[in-house]
Symmetry: C2
Subunit: 192 residues, 2 copies
DNA sequence: ATACTAACTTAAACCAGCTTAAGTTTTTTT
DNA sequence: AAAAAAACTTAAGCTGGTTTAAGTTAGTAT
């Protein structure tokens, strides 16, 4: 069950099978209930998470007190508040489990040790961050190129499982509009 | 003049002074006129650029034919279409010089060689990508938390030099609204 | 089972920001 | 220096999406 991370690493970079257990030893396993917080805004961010099973979201509260979801992490994705994790600032995002979620956890000190013992892992994280960066740019592209309606259509045809899995309020906070407008869109769609 | 990249690397990671020239040898120097294209949508993306002097932008054309600017790169920033550079797809963004711009250029093969000879550089790029990723997330946060007016206010107080440096049309394509609306905002501001 | 709370829907009034179209100013080209 | 093109401004009308507020349905706890 917790071998997912090992597999993921072996997929991305070439590494000795025998090193994997040593690498995984730097991590610990943790589970969180649905709605549990892994990190809260304005706290210090001590951990980096890899999702084995379940789903996390990264979000913040805007000045009107409305939660805005920036990213999701499902199986095989990493999540943290990067800037805060590197100790520069307090977290400006919160991380919450949307479902009961099992994660691999590492803190900054263990990460440093891991990278010292296995510098090849640097390359693995490089790929992870490049992928995350590219995904975030694509997100900005989508925000600019699609109307909210079109963005919803795109998202719901591309990730239909996701739509089932996530409460509507969280979904709209990710898509960037109000639950009321989503209702309107859904009604409109059913007519077709 | 072209020592900027060396300095930048030495700032981010610990490295022998004597290795720097060997590292820089993998790059070549190039200059582009104002408005020149370094990359165009739907081409293959062969190079990764580091800006010594000047300013680049990454953008795409939306379905109405309007250019949308996703990112700028000034002195000390890297730029490419990441996904395309790694050879997976054709470019979905274009890169253009906003001013006469001097860059350090490297192609994929030389980058691989460089990383083979100096694996420490992997750590340098790790920092670069983490920073770029964090910046992109922050951008999404800003899009969600500010009205267009507030975003313009923020941007123009935080980067006043930038406002001078960039033509209004490109600025609005970055801020995500129309030149007409920018005029309106400026008029409104002058009254105060 | 019953009550309480959270998630979702509906509809009307409203507004931030867009579109269009014409005018002005600046820059580039010849 | 003149002409053409590009960059910016102004103003009116319009629309995608929000706000508000009330009603419905589903989930959860007692």
């Amino acid at each position: 069950m917790s071998e997912q991370l090992g597999k993921h690493i072996a997929q991305q970079i070439s590494i000795f099978e025998t090193d994997l257990p040593k690498i995984l030893a730097y991590f610990s396993l943790a589970t969180f209930d649905k709605k549990a917080y892994l990190l809260q805004e304005n706290q210090s961010c001590k951990y980096l998470y890899f999702v084995n099973k379940g789903c996390l979201r990264l979000f913040f509260c805007d000045d009107k007190g409305i939660e805005q979801t920036i990213q999701f992490a499902i199986e095989g994705w990493w999540m943290t508040d990067l800037t805060a994790f590197h100790g520069e600032k307090l977290a400006e995002f919160s991380i919450q489990a949307i479902e009961a979620t099992q994660v691999m956890v590492i803190d900054k000190i263990n990460l440093e040790e891991l990278l010292k013992e296995f510098p090849q892992i640097e390359r693995y994280f490089n790929k992870i961050y490049q992928r995350a960066y590219a995904a975030s740019l694509l997100r900005v592209k989508h925000i600019f190129s699609f109307s909210k309606e079109a963005f919803y259509q795109l998202f719901s045809t591309k990730y239909p499982q996701f739509i089932q899995r996530i409460p509507q309020k969280i979904l709209t906070s990710f898509l960037g509009f109000t639950p009321e407008y989503l209702s309107e869109l859904r009604k409109k769609n059913m007519k077709k």
